[in-house]
Symmetry: D2
Subunit: 108 residues, 4 copies
């Protein structure tokens, strides 16, 4: 069943979507929001594509490889921005992004 | 942290979204697709709102109660349609929908 | 046809979604991002629900009234935040939000 | 402004999203739903990615080229399926898909 076949990818997408939404929310509450503007922007792009791709996988999309490729690219860009910032939510988000990019690359 | 505060709701939303996408995909592969048309339609509506609400919760949306209300209504409608059908994917989806509706009602 | 029946609502949702995404993007580029944090947050919530509801209408969702209600509430909240700020993108967004809320209320 | 720069692409995405949602809804109401199963599936995939990409463009996403590429691929696949069927909604959807794919290719 498709659900099990892609389980590690599905988990990575879900963790990354959750981390990005949490980082986005936390960045908006930081004192120096301006410094976090690019992080906020990329968190949203990344959360959106991960949530999108996870749902697509769960309905056995015929476009797994194509979506994995674009998702990996967005996760990498978001991870690179997040890792520049010392906040725990940014560091955790970077880890989730890089892990998700790695899982996406396996099927891209 | 918001993530933990809503953990059982978040899990219920995610399980429901996954069950609805799986049921949708499986219905499209059944022999009698016509009999499943309403199930296909409601599975998509339900998957979409559950995925939407889960993401919104993970970014600490100010509209938790409002979204929980509409999500509960859609989950109940989807569960009622799914439980009419004997397929395992429909029966499992109905359970996930009713559980999610119950969790949504707690915060609506 | 459903598309025409709801045409003024669909247009209002689309204009609001576009205005919110533009305001979100513009707020992230402002000098004083911190002052715009709540606007950024509500722009995203509002863009997401308007885009969601527009798509649902275009597929003749059975949940028109329920979605219209939550969408109106989110549009009003976003409009009230946007109208506090002098930027053109905020003022235009507030107008689009209030117009969309009004259209939603007609079918809620 | 980004909104105008991409206007023909944004219009093509929106038209394609609307046509796919209308075709999806109409296919579910046809007598021979089974024959339309693949059309239903691809209509949803295509509507979802077009709606996603349109929103991303409206917030000046840094991932325009990457999203345009995957969107073009999904639009082409959906158009090829739709054009097999004689229903007006399928033929109109095929046209919208091919036009959208063409617009996406210009920026991919």
């Amino acid at each position: 069943m498709s659900k099990h076949e892609n389980q590690s990818l599905i988990s990575a997408l879900h963790d990354c979507m959750a981390a990005c939404n949490h980082c986005y929310d936390s960045c908006l509450k930081e004192d120096d929001v301006k410094m976090m503007a690019e992080c906020i922007r990329l968190d949203r792009e990344c959360a959106d594509i991960c949530g999108f791709f996870e749902q697509a996988l769960l309905r056995d999309t015929p476009f797994k490889a194509e979506l994995a490729k674009v998702c990996a690219e967005i996760c990498e860009a978001c991870g690179k921005e997040c890792e520049k910032h010392d906040h725990d939510h940014c560091q955790e988000c970077a880890k989730a992004c890089f892990n998700c990019a790695k899982e996406c690359r396996k099927v891209a």
